[in-house]
Assembly symmetry: C2
């Protein structure tokens, strides 16, 4: 039994979810020439939509893609239309159709896609027992011209994820080219070590995650000492606790790396405390007026 | 006055060129999870189609994407249909529609796109006067998990190209993370220096170009000493000649880098000789039976 896919909004127009939405000549497809945001919807609201939109428009400007004026309205229309209690909301902006080659057309008309879907089914074990990561062979490039931008170029993340799966792990953890811990395939990394909450700085090719920023805010509010500074795999392996952050999955304990336990191999008290505070924060901000 | 775009073949089905061909949920678009080949058509034939297909299928296997069985037939059908005397032929294979997140669906159905178009309008100056390159700020990552694969992830190349254009150059030249010359935004690099034709090895994040391989073959046939070895920007700046190779543009002299001339600032005799030999090779192999 197949069920209909949720609608997709293409430049503000509602289209059937199982249709075809994009030209084969769209530079988002041909060159990964675009950016996206994955957001979590809660009963008709989106957690920190304005920050997602700010990150996206910053990236569009960096790539010289004109910023479409109605992004927020189109996201809200798609959410109002789908309106599940919990949802994943993906907003994609590409440079639109191009004639071939790398030179953009003179008259760029960006393609804007909004797809609202059910939240991925994270198993309770993800949060209760935690995840194991495999150190990917491929490295993140902190010296890329698009480092820090959430571009469509996720091929390396997919390749690392597949390698991790072959190794029996839940996710891939990437190092930068100098061997510092960077991030997981689609989430940021935090470690609790020596009484300090540490996350890799953006200079280690970590994305400026919306959830990452929320955790740093929470740490400050809770009086938990926190820092952005580089660290390697030895410090990760020797950490007391670790967790991963992403907009859809939220916070998930990271309890094994390369098959070895981190700390006692289970979610630790600091991780649990920040997870609870984060859930409260989301509930507080996403209460509908 | 707009004119109709050439048709696009989607999984072997001819579709109007100005239509919508791909789902917004196709992983080629959402994650750059796919590969492509850009090939040059000559009067109904494609130069070294079998090598393009071999490179593509090798990449598909590396990314665990099932190899669609009828790639060659679909490319030939698209060429027979369009049949311009000179054409660009783009073959794209993605992992198909995914449910969101990085984990591929259990039942992967790849998307195969073939788009035949007019050859880009390269100005005669490209070949007669040569090109100037800007050294991109962003680096190519020779330690990426997908280095050497022609994936859809061209965002860095686009960003470098835009930076080069802002600097008044024709193209971007990328260094790898260790500072070796790697390649241009969508072509391989050769230098003629000290009586040796040198191109960066694949270990410097150079793509295994079909034209690159043809030039190495030609050099051997012509008795020109050639080597794949790393070199830096000083050796490039001090080279006697340089040129770029790609499937669509063929060989183009590279005569300036960072605003300074290479050699005497014009296409040199070795470059001109190999350009002529390459044209002969293409004409010989693309003669229709």
């Amino acid at each position: 039994v197949s069920h209909a896919l949720p609608a997709v909004w293409v430049n503000g127009e509602r289209q059937p979810g199982d249709g075809r939405h994009v030209s084969a000549r769209d530079r988002g497809l041909t060159l990964a020439d675009g950016l996206f945001e994955t957001m979590r919807g809660h009963g008709g609201t989106v957690f920190r939509l304005e920050r997602h939109l700010a990150r996206l428009t910053g990236g569009l400007r960096a790539l010289e893609i004109p910023v479409p004026p109605r992004l927020e309205a189109w996201v809200r229309a798609a959410i109002d239309d789908a309106a599940p209690s919990d949802a994943s909301v993906r907003l994609t902006v590409t440079r639109g159709i191009g004639p071939g080659g790398l030179a953009p057309p003179v008259d760029v008309r960006p393609t804007v896609l909004v797809a609202v879907g059910a939240l991925p089914q994270y198993s309770p074990a993800t949060y209760e027992r935690g995840l194991g990561a495999h150190i990917a062979t491929g490295r993140r490039n902190e010296r890329s011209g698009t480092a820090g931008l959430k571009t469509l170029a996720y091929t390396d993340a997919v390749a690392g994820f597949l390698e991790a799966r072959r190794a029996g792990a839940d996710d891939a953890l990437f190092l930068d080219t100098e061997g510092h811990c960077s991030e997981a395939s689609s989430s940021n990394l935090f470690v609790w070590t020596g009484g300090l909450l540490v996350t890799p700085p953006l200079s280690c090719a970590a994305l400026p995650g919306i959830t990452r920023a929320a955790v740093l805010e929470l740490a400050a509010a809770l009086g938990i000492p926190a820092a952005e500074r580089p660290f390697g795999t030895e410090e990760l392996a020797g950490a007391d606790e670790a967790f991963l952050t992403s907009s859809l999955r939220g916070l998930a304990p990271l309890v094994r790396v390369g098959g070895r336990p981190i700390g006692d191999g289970g979610p630790g008290p600091v991780t649990r405390g920040i997870m609870a505070s984060y859930r409260d924060l989301v509930a507080r901000e996403c209460r509908r007026p």
